[in-house]
Structures are given as C-alpha cells and as structure tokens.
C-alpha cells in the first residue's frame, strides 16, 4: 500500500477514468471506439487502483462471483442479440426502422444522432461488459498469485 497522497489522488481520479471509458463504449457507433477499446480504458483504471492499494485490499471489494456473472451475462446477451433476427439470416439487424434504436441518419457527413444504429450499441455494451470482467479477473489473479507468497512465509 503506497502513501496517503497516492491513495487520495487515485481515489480522486477513478470516477473520471470510468466515465471516459463508458463514454467510449456508449458512442461506439458515432466516433472511433466501441466495446473493446472502452473496456481496455476501464481496465487500465482498475490497474491504477491495484497499484495504489495492495491486492489484498482490493480482494475484499471485488468478489469473484460478481465478475463471473458479469462475464457470462455479457456473452449471453451478445448471442441473444445475434439470434433475434433469425427470420432472415443469423446476424440480421432487426431494429433499423423500429422506434427503439432505429433512426436512419442522412446520407453524407452529419452531426451524429445517438438513437441510430439498430443492434450495434447494444452489442457494444455486451462486449464491453465481457472485456471489463475478463481482464479484471486476469489482472487480479496474477497480482494475488505473485503477492500472496510473501504473506505466507
């Protein structure tokens, strides 16, 4: 566990990093980005917390069962969204034209409207959830495995 200044600054920065990562995930159909890139940004914020506080402290807040449920539900939502257009073809974009996410933008360069895209923003959320949960579990497992042996001896 590092000194008090580092812990306070890390606590102050972490909401901004998480909001920035969620912004990249949510605007995946308008600006460069998407599920994978935004998930990597959020995981880098979690790594900053892991460096400031030790891994034993973080193990009390993040439970393994929550991470497992998040990752599995991300994968399941992705597959269910792929199956709802099964009438035409496997990955058919069914929500274009319907009032849920289905405005069609004007042809050519325009300022973006967030309620466009059909199935694509929902798929971005599912993939972002999967990446966040998976990479957090990997980073936490490596830190606990390497730091745990100093506590036992």
């Amino acid at each position: 566990m590092l000194s008090k200044i580092v812990r306070t600054v890390a606590n102050g920065f972490i909401p901004f990093i998480m909001i920035f990562g969620l912004y990249i995930i949510a605007h995946g159909h308008l600006t460069p980005g998407g599920g994978f890139q935004g998930g990597a940004v959020v995981v880098s914020g979690v790594v900053m917390l892991l460096v400031a506080f030790s891994s034993q402290e973080l193990k009390k807040s993040i439970r393994e069962r929550v991470l497992s449920i998040m990752e599995s539900s991300g994968a399941l939502i992705f597959i269910i969204l792929a199956f709802i257009g099964i009438g035409t073809v496997f990955f058919y974009n069914l929500l274009v034209g319907t009032p849920i996410f289905g405005n069609i933008p004007d042809f050519g360069p325009n300022l973006g409207d967030i309620w466009t895209g059909g199935v694509i923003p929902l798929m971005n959320f599912a993939v972002g959830l999967k990446v966040i949960a998976g990479l957090t579990a990997v980073v936490l497992a490596v830190a606990l495995f390497s730091g745990g042996e100093e506590v036992e001896e």
Partner: protein, 94 residues
C-alpha cells in the same frame, strides 16, 4: 557453432522472402480491387444506420468474426484462472 550457422542461414532465407514479398503487393496508397469496401462505404448508413463504418463492419457485416473473438477471450480468461490457483500444501501428510 553448427547450430548458429544453421540459424543464420534460416534467418537470411526468411528475411529475403519477407522483403521480396513486400514488392509483390500493390504500391502503397493505390489499392486495385476495392469493390467490397466501396459498397460498404456507400450503403452502411441506410442498411445498418450507423455513422461509423468500421463498427458496422465489425458488428453487422462480419459479426461472426466478433463472435469467435469473444469466444477466444473467454477461453483465455478461463485458462489463466485455471493455471493460477493458490493451493495450500500440507507438508505433514501427502
């Protein structure tokens, strides 16, 4: 000594193949066969409704590749968590 000579010959052959192959590709900046990409740039706003053509390609036109990639992520995370288990070894009885 023998191993190092064989390794050096192998490295020179592979690098020669790589550099020779870089001249067989089209010149940089002028691709020749781009009908599929032109179709995707023209029609991605009506058919998928998104302004980002790369996201439309990743999730709508080629969604099966993204499904395979999500499966690879899941398998890798499972493999890492399987290899790194803290096991308490009892040394008095095996």
């Amino acid at each position: 000594m023998n191993r190092q000579v064989a390794g050096l010959i192998l490295l020179l052959v592979l690098v020669a193949f790589l550099v020779w192959g870089m001249y067989l590709v089209h010149p940089f900046g002028y691709p020749d066969a781009s009908d599929m990409d032109d179709y995707m740039i023209e029609n991605s706003q009506e058919e998928t409704g998104s302004n980002n053509v790369v996201a439309a390609v990743l999730f709508d036109y080629r969604g099966l590749d993204t499904l395979g990639e999500a499966t690879i992520l899941f398998t890798a995370v499972t493999g890492v968590l399987l290899l790194l288990r803290l096991s308490k070894r009892k040394e008095n009885n095996s």
